[in-house]
């Protein structure tokens, strides 16, 4: 299977991977390709580079899909037979929207002003990921799009995104929340004290050490939110339904640098365990290595070895004249060959851990940053085998 076939056959493409690998750009490029191949496409992007956002018309955007004007695409020489929309995930805004949608009106303002809520919505591990999944579910249910491409928040590990609903589910476990919702709880740890003298003793020390204000806030927060949590497990189940559905595919975006390239086997088995199998891999910013087949004795074709710097320098010297220029050019070439060789070794190792059915695309390192529609279209050759005219 190719990446083109994969994207054609699915309705939801999730671009996962660690930060700083060009995940947003790849997601936007896949979405543009979807629009060019006739589908109503939306890309849900998170924290896009400003120039990319501007070129997509995202600068003025809230958290609703925004159709990119056909004239804007035409101006870049692109004539989509489908449509391209984009939206930005506003993480804080998405939590606020969730509260506004589901919390009882009288509790709404109290929740939004609660310091614990503000902290939770901004920093709780997994909450950004969870909100991205919430947005995805809303897009799927709207039925307005044939292809939804999701850019995920930068995480240390691709798995963090997949486990977000479960983690938030554990966090909002109703049995535990009940403890915090009891009104007398905020007055102290009296319940715990009565139940278990050992735990009570230590928790009392905890309370002294940390200050009680935090606990009052937590308790107050859960009292206000209790209505919202009633159907939270249902929502989480629904989120997993979408993530595990046959229409959804996870595409790992990674760079060939060793820092971000984990163990493919580990990732593949973990994802299979979570019932969200890895469907495709994009290596971004790959340096090409020049390998020239030796054809000894071939008439008129001198034997050249790309890895023999002296030979390369001699060849370049014949072209530009011997001296510093030839030396600098040959040295630069040798350095890039070195870089490329390391990358290919790592890519090769990674691929060996993958199933043959998983398509792999290599996107070369471009001379300049990719930050406009034309640049996104220029990636299509590498991603899908051919650009769409």
């Amino acid at each position: 299977m190719t990446l083109a076939e994969l994207v054609q056959g699915r309705r939801v493409i999730i671009s996962a991977g660690s930060g700083g690998v060009g995940k947003t750009t790849v997601a936007a490029s896949i979405a543009l390709w979807g629009a060019l191949t006739g589908r109503r496409t939306v890309v849900l992007t998170i924290d896009p580079a400003r120039r990319l956002a501007t070129s997509l018309g995202l600068a003025t955007l809230g958290s609703v899909p925004h159709r990119i004007a056909p004239e804007l695409l035409a101006g870049q020489g692109l004539a989509p037979t489908g449509a391209l929309s984009a939206m930005m995930l506003d993480q804080k805004g998405a939590w606020d929207a969730l509260v506004e949608r589901h919390a009882p009106p009288d509790a709404r303002d109290r929740i939004l002003a609660n310091p614990f809520y503000q902290h939770l919505s901004q920093t709780f591990a997994g909450s950004h990921e969870y909100m991205a999944i919430e947005q995805l579910c809303a897009l799927v249910e709207s039925g307005e799009f044939d292809l939804i491409v999701v850019d995920t928040p930068p995480t240390r590990h691709a798995l963090d995104f997949l486990e977000a609903p479960r983690r938030i589910g554990d966090f909002l476990d109703r049995k535990i929340i009940k403890w915090f919702v009891r009104p007398y709880f905020s007055a102290g740890w009296s319940v715990v004290l009565a139940m278990n003298r050992t735990a009570g003793f230590v928790l009392k020390r905890l309370e002294q050490a940390t200050g009680i204000s935090a606990l009052v806030e937590i308790s107050d927060f859960f009292s206000s939110m209790s209505g919202l949590f009633e159907n939270f497990q249902t929502r989480i189940a629904r989120a997993y339904e979408v993530l595990r559905g046959p229409e959804t595919a996870f595409v790992l975006v990674t760079s060939p640098e060793e820092q971000v390239l984990g163990d493919a086997e580990y990732l593949t088995s973990k994802m299979a365990e979570l019932q969200m199998p890895l469907a495709g891999v994009v290596f971004n910013r790959v340096h090409p290595e020049v390998r020239i087949a030796r054809r000894r004795g071939a008439a008129g074709d001198p034997d050249v070895a790309p890895d023999d710097t002296a030979q390369v320098e001699a060849l370049v010297a014949r072209a530009v004249g011997a001296g510093d220029d030839a030396r600098a050019l040959a040295r630069n070439f040798a350095d890039y060959q070195l870089l490329a060789r390391g990358e290919w070794l790592r890519i090769d190792h990674f691929r060996r851990g993958l199933s043959r059915r998983v398509p792999v695309a290599l996107v070369p390192n471009f001379e300049r940053d990719v930050h406009d529609l034309r640049g996104l279209a220029a990636m299509h050759g590498a991603l899908f085998g051919a650009a769409v005219a």
Binding site: G19, G20, V21, A49, R50, R51, P115, H119, L120, T123, P154, R156, F171, I176, W179, T198, A199, F201, V202, L203, R205, L206, Q208, A209, T210, G211, S213, A214, E217, E258, Q259, P288, V290, R295, G300, D301, P302, V304, P306, V312, L315, V316, A319, V320, G321, A326, A328, L329, A330, N332, F333, D335, Y336, L338, L339, G342, L345, N365, E367, R368
Partner: protein, 320 residues
């Protein structure tokens, strides 16, 4: 106020993907080479810092070469250690740590884990052994998200948010140490590209104005700086057109790699100029070409860092 390298507590901050961990490793190596008893701290036990220094992750300070130790600090363990100090009965502690209410408390209390992480680092930075500081230098590789600043924000937030109590008193002491320009430096690592520079400038404003922390070096990492003579490139282009077969393929690649390197060099120069105009001096680390960025590359980077910061001063100090 001493030179940033002379300060005992050095945080290395920066966005994910800028090479923050490699710079932290190079810095720790440089300090150890200068004869300082150095502790390199990672705030993520799955990080690469110890590996880049030739060691393995450890939850207690572990010497990996003479004068250089590594340590992984995480909030949950730090909190347990801290509670161990205020509640000295082991059996009580064990039963609390395993209770779900406690687990929940740790997950839910705003910023408690972050606070405990910084607290543990503070503890190491101020700890004394035989009447003198245990470490001459503590180098911290901050987490990648949000430039790692959410951790540095936390002691201040805790000081304001938590009611009177042990934690508030400790938070105050931590804030005082972090803000002291004689002991602390917060370095900021970035790439000389559009978004990274913009984000670095935002982070710098937050460090100096909002958090009021002493800024150390602004480090421009992976800087491409090769320019080729235009007439040589023109002659190369003409030769590519003339050549055939393997020679053509090779010359074409030589030209393509030159164009790629020059393209990035131009981008880097433009954005470093923008950064320099805003912050004054920056420390530039060149792009290191390597098949695999390993312990040897870190040593190389560490020497480049020494040169970029001011090799002259360092040499003078060694002579004394």
């Amino acid at each position: 106020m001493g030179a940033p390298l002379e300060r005992r507590l050095q945080f290395v901050t920066g966005k994910g993907g800028v090479g923050k961990t490699t710079v932290a490793a190079a810095l720790a190596l440089l300090l150890a080479r200068r004869g300082k008893r150095t502790l390199a701290v990672e705030m993520d036990a799955a990080g690469r810092l110890p590996a880049l220094l030739g060691g393995a992750t450890s939850r207690t300070p572990q010497e990996i070469r003479p004068g250089l130790h590594v340590l992984a600090v995480d909030g949950r363990t730090a909190l347990e250690e801290y509670l161990g100090m205020i509640i000295p009965v082991k059996r009580l502690l064990a039963s609390v740590f395993s209770s779900r209410v406690y687990q929940y408390f740790v997950a839910a209390a705003p910023g408690l884990k972050e606070l405990m992480t910084v607290g543990k680092i503070w503890y190491e930075a101020t700890r004394e052994e035989a009447g003198r500081p245990a470490w001459d230098a503590v180098v911290v590789d901050a987490p990648a998200t949000g430039h790692g600043l959410q951790y540095l924000r936390m002691p201040q937030a805790a000081m304001e948010a938590f009611g009177a109590g042990l934690v508030q008193r400790e938070a105050r002491r931590i804030v005082e140490l972090l803000r002291d320009a004689r002991t602390t430096a917060v370095h900021l690592v970035t790439l000389a590209e559009d978004m990274p520079v913009t984000e670095a400038l935002e982070a710098r404003t937050e460090i100096t104005e909002k958090l009021e922390l002493p800024l150390g070096y602004v480090v421009v990492n992976r800087f491409h700086d090769r320019h080729f003579a235009p007439d040589a490139l023109a002659r190369l282009g003409a030769a590519v057109a003339r050549a055939s077969g393997a020679e053509h393929a090779l010359l074409e690649s030589v030209a393509a790699r030159a164009a790629e390197e020059q393209g990035w060099s131009d981008i880097n120069a433009e954005h470093r100029a923008r950064l320099t105009a805003a912050v004054g001096g920056v420390v530039t680390l060149p792009y290191v070409f390597a098949e695999e960025f390993d312990v040897g590359s870190v040593a190389q980077l560490s020497e480049l860092l020494e040169g970029a910061i001011g090799g002259g001063r360092a040499a003078a100090r060694r002579a004394r």
